[in-house]
Point group: C2
Chain length 350, copies 2
DNA sequence: CTGAAAGCGCTTACAG
DNA sequence: CTGAAAGCGCTTACAG
């Protein structure tokens, strides 16, 4: 491999001059700079990342901790990852992707060994075991997802409470008075997925305010289980006229369930989901939904992280907790409650 | 940060002895080893990755080049990524994730700067611009996807030709004589997505052998376009009794299309897709499919890559091109052609 | 405006 | 069985 020594020799200057010519950190005569640049081009020189990291204590790499848990919907995670990855690259950073099941151990490994200048944590739980490790690390961290304790960290999340209220209000405005909310699997709640209860609690509260009956349930993350749950819920609450989904797998399974029951949206049932537009297009979901804006969240997290990495007086700036305001994307899946939920169209096998 | 010098001082030995005690690369007295290990534990020592990389010329990092192109189905990529990531970690490697649009430039950057010990390329095209760069790089590379020229690289892919034959043969055995094959968008072909024509050509060939009429078409990668294409194809070929899908987006869109047409699978139409079981469960697809085995392919690529990274005489072992034999996962979506394709069930809105 | 030298934190021949 | 020293390829005060 060609080193900066080779470049210096070819340009007839010292290694320090070659280095300065490339970094621009001190004034270099035009002529020398030209010679150095020529040498770089001819020899095909690229600085060795390890050596540079050792000398500067900067790796220009950001750690991305993603978790792919059995009971969550993997593709939703991808959107956040791409938001983080693309933004990092724009800002000059590469991404070290960590998908280990034991996120705490992995986090310790990459921070202790100084492989990264900072870390983005996805899918943060209420009482996330990775947080104490992140706080103790010398590198800054940014979270996507709201934990119970935000101290010492920058946090970004969708305003799930507002999302719950918007769902209920929208349905109320159309005249619905009985709704079903399908959340993520109960395991997600047990693991501390705060966004589940943040949306649900706010929706229940708002339903009370509006005088709406709101039935809540946890849905599975896979077929055929989640499909059966949807059937059971529709069976149990025949007078419900609207369905709210805070569960991507349920949204993906719903078209088939509707088909099996012979139901049409929104004539027979109004539906609002909570997922990204990208997700809707990819999975052919034509339900209106609260935009979860994973790309924006990933982008915001990286921007703030890089700001903190590059700010001289670390931890001088106050930490931020920032919520994205949810927006309802109308895909025409809601309407005034119809009169067609009489079961006559039902073609569900036994 | 605590360095090996701190450990050595605490243990009362030289830095080299501390290093050897940790690496086990020469015999160390029990007593000294104990003292060193105690010091490591007390001080919380972890080697600095950059320094180690500089000294050993090994980063213990593998580059993963994924492409998320507008006209391809992003979630399918995720499965390959996880197969690669999990296997790499098992073998002691971390993953540098590269998602840049300009894959060639990115590849050059991470190999030239020696950020990685080797590279896995996903979504390899017939005449992939990244390959010349990879061949010129000092690090070895493994491909998932078959290019036109495999020289100097280890290549892994599904046997798409056999997949095409299996689809046709399976339908033929059930009595089908007219089929439709929906491939990826034409853009994918133009970009050199060889798997598209490998499957299609083999299917056409086999259809000829079996005396089957096979209509082929390219499908879009998004709704609502791909749904419209499916409708149009079913309209144009009313006597076709089976549908073959080499297009994940089409598979995801099909349940809604079937619903709109009032068709039941397999009574009205037999369907075989080509995607992973993981994909089927995640997206609630109950069509039989050729397992695309992304996790296995990712795993094989990393295993071979690591073998090559760690083999002393690089390029001494011959390069391999290995195909996974496709297997049909029966989810009950095929049957003998029925008599219900008479249009009487059609409920498609004009 | 430029050069010689020290140092980042490791590993590993070279000596003993 | 252990230590002193060189070296990996950079960057950056320190001198001039």
């Amino acid at each position: 491999m060609v080193t900066i020594g080779d470049v210096a020799r070819a340009a007839g200057v010292s290694r320090s001059t070659a280095s300065y010519a490339l970094s621009g950190k001190r004034t270099i005569s035009m002529e020398v700079r030209e010679r150095v640049n020529d040498a770089v081009r001819e020899l095909g020189y690229t600085p060795n990342a390890g050596a540079r990291a050792l000398a500067t204590s900067q790796t220009m790499v950001i750690g991305l901790l993603a978790q792919f848990l059995e009971d969550e919907f993997a593709p939703a995670m991808l959107q956040y990852m791409l938001g983080v990855s693309d933004t990092a690259r724009e800002l000059g950073y590469d991404i070290l992707l960590v998908t280990e099941a034991d996120g705490a151990r992995a986090l310790r490994r990459i921070t202790d060994s100084q492989m990264v200048d900072g870390v983005v944590l996805l899918n943060v739980a209420q009482d996330d075991v990775r947080l104490p490790i992140l706080r103790a690390a010398p590198q800054p961290g940014a979270l996507v997802g709201l934990p119970g304790d935000c101290s010492g960290l920058d946090v970004f999340d969708l305003d799930f409470e507002e999302a719950g209220r918007i769902m209920v209000n929208h349905m109320h405005r159309l005249g619905h008075r009985e709704l079903i909310l399908v959340s993520q699997p109960e395991h997600v709640v047990e693991r501390g997925g705060a966004y589940v209860w943040r949306l649900q609690d706010a929706a229940l509260q708002q339903a009370r305010v509006r005088g709406i009956r709101l039935h809540t349930a946890f849905g599975e993350s896979r077929q055929p289980a989640v499909g059966r749950t949807l059937h059971a819920l529709l069976d149990s609450h025949p007078s419900a006229t609207g369905l709210l989904l805070n569960n991507e797998a349920a949204a993906a399974a719903l078209p088939t369930v509707l088909h099996e029951r012979g139901l049409t949206v929104p004539a027979d049932l109004s539906v609002i989901g909570r997922y990204s537009d990208e997700f809707a297009r990819t999975f052919s979901l034509s339900f209106s939904s609260i935009e979860s804006a994973p790309d924006r969240l990933g982008r915001m997290a990286v921007r703030q992280l890089v700001r903190r990495i590059e700010s001289s007086d670390t931890a001088a700036e106050p930490y931020v907790v920032r919520f994205i305001s949810p927006e309802l994307v109308d895909r025409g899946s809601t309407a005034a409650p119809g009169s067609r939920r009489d079961g006559s169209h039902s073609r569900r096998p036994q």
